[in-house]
């Protein structure tokens, strides 16, 4: 069963490559190999002072003095994630949370992306049930089982990001806690041993050639 799935994945990847290369032969875009990278423990205002951490997919964390430039792609503070565009910054940034598996999100529909508005970022926090908009986390509250009062990144949510410079990226948030802990353990459920919150670990892929296909 496992090998079958792997084989299927391989076929999918091959087909995808075929598709990409066909696409490439029609246009004159440069072939850039897609690289998956992971950012570990990006702090998101851990001391709760209200500040943001600015992050660039290319250069990592950038100084907050560059907040008013296109040097950053995402800004983190608590569970709020901003893109560099609209009300949040001078760049071309936009974003959207979609349901799916990171590996399987292969194409961006640019017209569906949202732009940050004041108090309403493009990247939805928790699900908005009335409007049926998926968000990236759930708050467990007084859950009868499992960890209580924890921010858990919803499995199967992929964030599509348009970077400040107009490239497309996809990312999956793995953890909101320092050290990317296993959230199913008793250590995590126990508040005394739960790692510090407001630390993002996420993986991402940036399509640097300007295309909308991963």
């Amino acid at each position: 069963m496992k090998t079958q799935t792997n084989l299927l994945n391989l076929l999918l990847v091959l087909a995808l490559f075929g598709f990409v290369s066909c696409d490439d032969s029609d246009t004159t875009e440069e072939i850039v190999p897609l690289v998956e990278e992971t950012a570990f423990d990006v702090p998101a205002d851990p001391d709760m002072s209200g500040g943001f951490t600015y992050f660039s997919f290319e250069n990592g964390i950038v100084d907050s003095t560059q907040a008013n430039s296109d040097a950053w792609d995402l800004a983190f503070s608590g569970t709020t994630i901003l893109t560099n565009g609209g009300a949040s910054g001078p760049g071309q940034g936009a974003g959207l949370v979609v349901a799916g598996i990171f590996e399987n999100v292969s194409e961006v529909q640019e017209n569906e992306l949202k732009i940050d508005a004041e108090g309403s970022p493009a990247i939805q926090g928790s699900d908005s049930q009335g409007e049926n908009i998926p968000g990236w986390y759930t708050y467990t509250g007084e859950a009868p089982s499992g960890p209580q009062r924890a921010i858990i990144a919803v499995p199967g949510r992929v964030i599509i990001v348009k970077t400040a410079k107009g490239n497309f990226a996809k990312m999956e948030i793995l953890s909101y806690y320092e050290g990317n802990p296993d959230t199913t353990t008793d250590e995590f459920a126990n508040f005394a041993t739960r790692p510090a919150s407001r630390h993002y670990t996420f993986r991402y892929v940036v399509q640097k050639n300007g295309g909308n296909v991963f």
């Binding site: 598996i101 399987n104 009335g130 759930t138 509250g141 499992g146 858990i152 199967g156 793995l174 953890s175």
Partner: protein, 767 residues
């Protein structure tokens, strides 16, 4: 004791041995029962009948005796006779076939007393003697050992049948429903079993006769009737965990009058499986049951009976709560009662018609008080009072031997008053039902029926039923049934008005949602409305369609095998969903008809008579339970989980889906029953297996799919031994959970329980 036995035998030898008894034994078809064994109980006198079934026992004194007659392939029976000087009784004894023993069993699965063989429904019968043999105190212990019945712990000891929960199983005592559910669970430990004549387990929906709750099936408990004359019994038992039970039955019966009183007191010291918390898993409690019954036959045509029940229980527990950062210990004391009164007037104008007029009134009350241990001041108290009255008429028309028509109708009034409910609430319901039982020919039995229910709070409902039984060969019987079941929305789903004081969310029942939302809005508690309360439709009853198909094989006299397949499709399952977001960020929930679930499976029951006095029984159930919406999502790749070591998302596959929580895919039991006639003792060894089951969602994807979300299966072994010390005294000894099995997800298993007791009867009375 041995000395006494010896002495009695010795004196038998010496005294005048002039008296004798003769007899002829035949089988069911009237043929001689060659070489049957005949034993005079309480003596060493026994013979083997000759080829023609004749026997002669000499050397007996005058007196009253009991004979035990047994033969391979036949059920052992007991026969009483009296020996007097100068007369030799001639007994004519007919031995029933072993596997046809069920022939004698009358069941009321169709609300008319009928031979179980003629009812094309799945009915299992547990006889009172079996209950007595296993030494059970409460109903949950008896049902735990039945194939396909799973005991569950959720606000009391509940039951699961065909993969459906307690809410969907109707529990009847003498045909009338027991009320008083907490979160859907009817606590089976409220029901003492010492006065049970038999328990009928009817699988598959019976809403066509009983209405709501009879969706998975019905458990009907028939209490004992007194035998002729005056009778009395006393039974005392002691168990581990400082548990003691004392019960007595007094009864009198003559041609016209029968009266009986059953009283039981159960005390338990309780137990604690969680060392770290001060509150006990099962707190100490004391419970009393009173069950008086009176019946009077005015004539052959008129009979009046009045049954009553009163049950009261008190328990004491402690708990630690955190108040302003400090731990405070409180006493948690609870009381509950249930009672009922059931007068029935039965009219039999002739042997073709029967009319029953029944009025059933029952109440259930609970009261909990939490007080500070240091100063006795009240921390919290709550109560729940439920009152239920039903007036019903039932008419049975026996057209001839093969056709019975049943018509009935009734009206119920139900009142609920509770801390968490708004106001005092009155519900009214009216219903009518009809049923036609017929056998077009000798091999075919059919039942067609239906019931229509209207209710003041939810939509009307029709529940049909069709059942067919067909005897293909003498040793192959087929059975098929199709039925509709339903379950009414319960009180909390209609009426709950609850705001969690610490978390701040609110839950409102569907009947009061609109009114309550208006109040929340007025008080400025609502940030945004997700579902306009005026668009909320009247909640519907949960409904099901069920299919049952079975085969019964009797390849030899010693072996019976039953194989059944079942499928329940349940629609409109009621779930809580948010209707508004509060200004504090929490949600307001109400109840909706949302989900669709399926439970299906195959079960097997096998009975094999290894020897005349040694029987082996086996039961097994394979269960597949699923939420249709979840399965659909999994097929579409829309349900995910994280690999806990990397936190990367994976799609959940169908093979990982664990079905509905608390359902075991595999479960079963095996029993070995041994009776020693000569030395008058019996031994029963029973094993119960429960396969792994899902306990809940830990990884936030709403389904059970990873190993931590399952509880491991277990095996439990129970042993009971009964020894007749004399005609009037039986000693019982045994152990429940001999292997000392515990499971962190099953709080009703405290570990090994040893027990012993004495059962006394009036001398000269049959057991």
């Amino acid at each position: 004791m041995l000395y006494a036995l010896f002495l009695s035998q010795f004196s038998n030898e010496l005294s005048a041995q002039a008296l004798k008894i003769e007899g002829t034994i035949t089988d069911e078809r009237g043929q001689p029962a060659s070489y049957a064994n005949v034993l005079v109980i309480g003596t060493d006198k026994g013979v083997t009948a000759d080829e023609k079934g004749n026997f002669l026992i000499k050397g007996l004194e005058a007196g009253e005796y009991r004979l035990r007659i047994s033969r391979i392939g036949a059920s052992a029976i007991e026969e009483r006779f009296e020996l007097m000087e100068g007369a030799t009784p001639q007994l004519q004894i007919s031995l029933p076939n072993a596997n046809k023993k069920l022939d004698e069993v009358t069941v009321t699965a169709t609300r008319t007393p009928r031979n179980v063989e003629d009812v094309p429904l799945r009915v299992d019968v547990i006889q009172g003697e079996q209950v007595e043999q296993m030494g059970a105190l409460r109903l949950n212990e008896v049902l735990a050992e039945q194939m396909g019945l799973q005991i569950t712990s959720d606000h009391g000891t509940g039951l699961q049948m065909q993969g459906l929960d307690s809410d969907y199983i109707l529990i009847l005592i003498d045909g009338e429903p027991v009320i008083g559910r907490t979160a859907g669970t009817l606590d089976l430990s409220r029901i003492a079993v010492d006065n049970i004549a038999r328990i009928e387990i009817i699988r598959g929906p019976s809403s066509s006769l009983y209405g709501s709750e009879a969706m998975a099936g019905v458990i009907n408990i028939i209490t004992k009737e007194g035998t002729s004359g005056f009778d009395a019994s006393l039974r005392g038992r002691y168990r581990s965990f400082n548990t003691s039970d004392l019960s007595t039955t007094l009864s009198y019966r003559n041609d016209k009058l029968s009266a009986s009183l059953f009283v039981d007191r159960l005390f338990s010291g309780g137990y604690d499986l969680t060392e770290e918390s001060v509150s006990m898993t099962s707190p100490p409690f004391e419970a009393y049951t009173f069950n008086p019954k009176v019946a009077y036959r005015f004539s052959d045509k008129v009979r009046l009976s009045v049954n009553g029940r009163f049950y009261t229980e008190s328990q004491e527990n402690e708990a630690d709560i955190i108040l302003d950062g400090e731990t405070v210990r409180i006493d948690d004391n609870g009381q509950r009662q249930d009672w009922n009164l059931m007068p029935t007037l039965e009219l039999l104008p002739n042997d073709k018609h029967r009319i029953q007029l029944r009025s059933y009134t029952t109440g259930y009350e609970t009261e909990t008080a939490l007080t500070y241990q240091n100063d006795g001041a009240l921390y919290d108290e709550n109560f729940f009072n439920q009152l239920f009255n039903r007036s019903e008429v039932q008419y049975d028309w026996y057209l001839n031997d093969r056709n019975i028509i049943t018509l009935g109708g009734g009206h119920t009034i139900e009142t609920v008053d509770a801390t968490r409910y708004a106001d005092v609430n009155n519900f009214r319901a009216t219903y009518g039902f009809a049923q036609y039982q017929f056998n077009p020919n000798k091999r075919l039995d059919m039942v067609v029926g239906g019931r229509f229910d209207t209710h003041s709070e939810y939509a009307s409902r029709f529940s049909p039923k069709l059942a067919v039984g067909y005897e293909l060969k003498d040793w192959i019987k087929l059975q098929a049934s199709l039925g509709g079941g339903y379950k009414a929305p319960d009180f909390r789903q209609l009426l709950l008005n609850f705001t969690n004081p610490t978390a701040g969310y609110a839950v409102v029942g569907s009947s009061i949602a609109q009114e309550q939302m208006a109040e929340f809005t007025e008080r400025g508690l609502i940030a945004n409305v997700l579902i306009d309360p005026s668009t909320i439709e009247t909640i519907k009853a949960e409904s099901s369609i069920a299919y049952n198909f079975g085969v019964e094989l009797t390849p030899t006299d010693k072996l019976t095998v039953n194989v059944n397949a079942f499928r329940n499709e349940i629609d409109n399952l009621i779930n809580a969903a948010p209707i508004a977001r509060k200004t504090n960020g929490q949600n307001v929930f109400s109840y909706f008809n949302e989900d669709e679930v399926i439970t299906q499976g195959v079960d097997l029951q096998l009975r094999y008579s290894i020897l005349d006095n040694l029987t082996f029984l086996l039961g097994y159930q394979y269960l597949d339970s699923r939420n249709v919406g979840d399965v659909e999502k999994i097929k579409n790749g829309e349900i995910f989980r994280r690999d806990p070591s990397t936190n990367r998302t994976l799609a959940v596959s169908l093979s990982e889906y664990g079905g509905l929580v608390n359902r075991s895919r595999h479960s079963g039991n095996a029993k070995l029953l041994y009776t020693n006639i000569r030395h008058r003792f019996d031994v029963s060894l029973r094993g119960i297996y429960r396969g792994r089951w899902g306990v809940g969602d830990l990884n936030g994807n709403g389904v059970v799919d990873t190993e931590q979300e399952f509880a491991q299966g277990y095996v439990q072994l129970n042993l009971a031994i009964n020894k007749d010390i004399s005609d009037w005294l039986t000693l019982e000894l045994g152990a429940n959970n001999l292997l000392d099995t515990t499971n962190e997800f099953e709080p009703s298993m405290p570990g090994r329980i040893l027990f012993g007791g004495l059962n006394m009867r009036l001398p000269g009375r049959n057991r």
